[in-house]
Symmetry: C2
Subunit: 496 residues, 2 copies
């Protein structure tokens, strides 16, 4: 493809993306294709001769688009939102057009330098303390692919710091602390590193937040067993229910355990820190006081297209001590002089995309005010949704709404005198049927979870095009399906 052919195909791509967004609301939210649909539609080998690009571009529309689930659809309430903004698309397009592997400053100075600046912009937007800024030259920020990656990097740095302070420690004795509500990134890191992971208990009455007392007991038990916890992954906004671990209590307990690293995973809810009114709930002061590392993802609720996970550390030396490898073929005069950041030593991979460009585009185009307005809008919509749920007797909130997430279930009145376990089993069965009905619909998408054995349904708001009318329509669908399931359930109960 020559330059003029690219211009033509590029214009067409832009036009088709416009068409995609104009027609988005008319599409089913989640793809309706069956497993294996694509292999039947595509030849088993690459073509020998090159094909005309128009055919290829048309095949994207014909074969691929029907297999997409539309995360930008205004009726998408599943998982967490994954941002896609036009500014982000354009940032990624420019970045891709001058692609480079970015593993050191010299690969393309702009990539490293813009990332260093944009991470400082973001730190300030979120109110992070000065020690997290790149300009501090002590701590600093770096972009990673995902929160799993960010957590793994933090845990590797924590292990490296711990074993350098305790050279006698055996890997077999090291323990990663998470809670039962921590995202699977904790267990995954343990699998990857071959280390033990201990999930600390959290309670419904604490809204599934880790308490200092639980941590203190675990530390004492593990000390007695000769185990060595070296990192705690705390969460601000868990995936299941938006729980916020009590960082103040945690920090206090860990004051006497200075070799235990605190990583705060705020992958989803971290962006709320942009708004002063949510900083107390999201525990900004405690993050600033206690966290050794902090992660949030712009690519969830932060208006920047996947992937754009941001990780800040209190002391960059802990990253580079753990991860710096510089063979001769990667040496540069700027790196040798120590005047530049070589970000490859701040993460796992060598090569890296130029991700900061899209963050820069988004933050400039929205401005801090636009960014905050967007977060506030999602939270307002969720407050509205939660009020609808509360007002309906056959529905119940499983825990308090958190930020822009509501976790609920059907909870009709049960025969009195039924033992608690039987109640739970009945309601779980009811809600599984209910969720199956919802999941079969093309016009709404939600996901399931479990909270201490209670099956529940998550309603996560954040797609940019979701309005109050969409939420009201979603609520109507939820009521309609509930009516059907409850009628069946009541009929069955009467038969039994």
């Amino acid at each position: 493809m020559d330059i003029e052919q690219f211009r033509k195909a590029g214009y067409q791509a832009i036009d088709r993306i416009c068409d995609y967004y104009y027609s988005l609301e008319q599409k089913p939210v989640n793809s309706q294709v069956p497993p294996g649909y694509l292999r039947e539609l595509i030849p088993p080998t690459a073509p020998e001769q090159g094909e005309d690009f128009q055919t290829i571009a048309d095949d994207y529309q014909k074969l691929i688009v029907p297999g997409l689930t539309h995360w930008q659809h205004p009726n998408f309430y599943a998982y967490f939102p994954t941002a896609c903004t036009f500014e982000g698309i354009l940032g990624d397009l420019y970045a891709t057009s001058a692609t480079n592997p970015g593993f050191n400053w010299a690969c393309s100075p702009a990539c490293t330098e813009l990332e260093a600046v944009v991470m400082d912009w973001s730190a300030k937007l979120f109110g992070l303390a000065d020690h997290f800024l790149n300009s501090s030259e002590v701590g600093g920020g770096v972009m990673q692919t995902t929160a799993s990656d960010s957590a793994l990097v933090a845990i590797v740095a924590a292990r490296s710091r711990y074993t350098s302070q305790h050279p006698e420690a055996k890997l077999e004795d090291l323990v990663i602390y998470t809670t039962t509500q921590t995202h699977s990134l904790g267990v995954k890191a343990a699998l990857v590193l071959g280390l033990e992971c201990r999930s600390l208990e959290v309670k419904p009455e604490d809204r599934f937040a880790l308490r200092g007392e639980t941590l203190r007991r675990a530390l004492a038990e593990d000390a007695a067993k000769g185990k060595r916890p070296f990192v705690l992954v705390a969460t601000v906004g868990t995936t299941s229910s938006g729980a916020v671990d009590r960082l103040g209590e945690i920090g206090e307990v860990l004051q006497d355990h200075s070799s235990i690293w605190i990583h705060v995973d705020a992958a989803w809810a971290g962006v709320t820190l942009a708004c002063p009114e949510f900083r107390e709930t999201a525990q900004l002061d405690h993050i600033n006081r206690h966290a050794d590392s902090f992660c949030t993802n712009f690519h969830k609720w932060g208006l920047v297209n996947f992937d754009a996970s941001t990780l800040w550390v209190r002391n960059r030396k802990h990253l580079t001590d753990a991860l710096d490898v510089t063979p001769e073929f990667l040496r540069t005069k700027q790196g040798d002089a120590g005047t530049v950041i070589d970000y490859r030593n701040w993460h796992l991979s060598l090569g890296r995309r130029f991700r900061s460009l899209k963050v820069w585009f988004v933050l400039r185009s929205y401005g801090a005010k636009g960014f905050r307005d967007y977060i506030r809008k999602s939270i307002d919509l969720n407050t509205h949704f939660a009020a609808l749920v509360r007002a309906e007797p056959s529905f119940s909130l499983v825990t308090e709404p958190a930020f822009a997430l509501t976790v609920f279930r059907l909870a009709p009145a049960l025969p009195t005198g039924l033992p608690a376990a039987a109640q739970l089993a009945q309601l779980n069965a009811l809600n599984r049927s209910y969720y199956a009905k919802l999941n079969a619909r093309p016009d709404i998408y939600l996901t399931q979870t479990q909270l201490n054995g209670t099956f529940c349904i998550r309603f996560a708001i954040g797609a940019a095009r979701t309005t109050r009318a969409h939420v009201d329509r979603a609520w109507a669908i939820l009521q309609e399906e509930a009516a059907g399931v409850l009628a069946e359930w009541t009929a069955q109960a009467q038969e039994a």
Copy 2:
């Protein structure tokens, strides 16, 4: 930004990318900015109010482009090439426009399914054996970010397989085998995992390839010490010199050590397997016979924009045994039924980009023939370059040219009777000065390396726009700078 504003900004982006490629050859190859240039040009915080997108797009041209090193420049011979094709840009653009985190099949079935098919296309293009195909339902292929990531995943799977076979093994006794010429990804994986790495010796007379005998000796030594090597990272096309480890000998030695995993890292040279005439050199038969996993990067010399690392495994169960985590909120009915691949269990991160789309676009637009032609063109140019070096008495090849890489140095006649160490020191000093001169030029970009103490210069061909005229011009520059450096050196020698 609304849809029509996006259309306008999108057209402009396409036009500006066209301008970039029209003007590419007139730009300096490597960026001329000093460290810290950007922080002075950008405000210290994000703007409070959103800015007009035209200003932002103009700032990209004004502030960012001068800080880019142009990896697509025809005079770029540094590191290894990083492909950027228009087809790749368009694939990435469509993928970004419908962004989703891709962690399971249900996220967007097309993403998983296209990846499964395209990995099979690629396996067949490279002549990989059937057991590596996704359609085999035993082995399979998955896209990762980088070769470092691919190697880390393979090593984690290897460790998991080893420790399940040898539950008594202590992590402290495990050893990763690499060679002194293996890419830093081996040492990095060891750092990340907290495991020991042993770099086996290779010799200039073997063209820096690992021999079976060296491996056999190391195994005996480590067995005597109670060490447990569990994975060997072998390379087809090392970064420094393009060396190819002797996979046949390695496979034979490891026949009696079935719990040692062989990972073949062919990040750069693997794409040559598309051409039947290079399959013997790149050891295809031995890869198919012995490798537990194989990696090559489309994003180096394979015409697909960064990132696009491809990893195949002989047995996918070894990946999922090591990496599968499925909490309730990630369960889906298709995943539960086992009818689909959930690629998140084949790598480290949870989320993943839709990378296969750009590979699909490139393979279809070039066709297998176009892909092979491109690889052959680079190798022909390198053969031409190596012949020029060979014909010039003051230059010397440090090792035989490999694929599209030539490693050379200045090697003028030295006074007779000088001890070998003094010769080496003199020539290293000479070549360091020579490289410094080359590195200061804006019109060519090469990188340095060391081979067993010998400082040398790498000339790596592969940018899509490099022609024979560019190589001849590069050679003229190399001769011109050599003449200057050699004249100074001779004058100094006469003074001394």
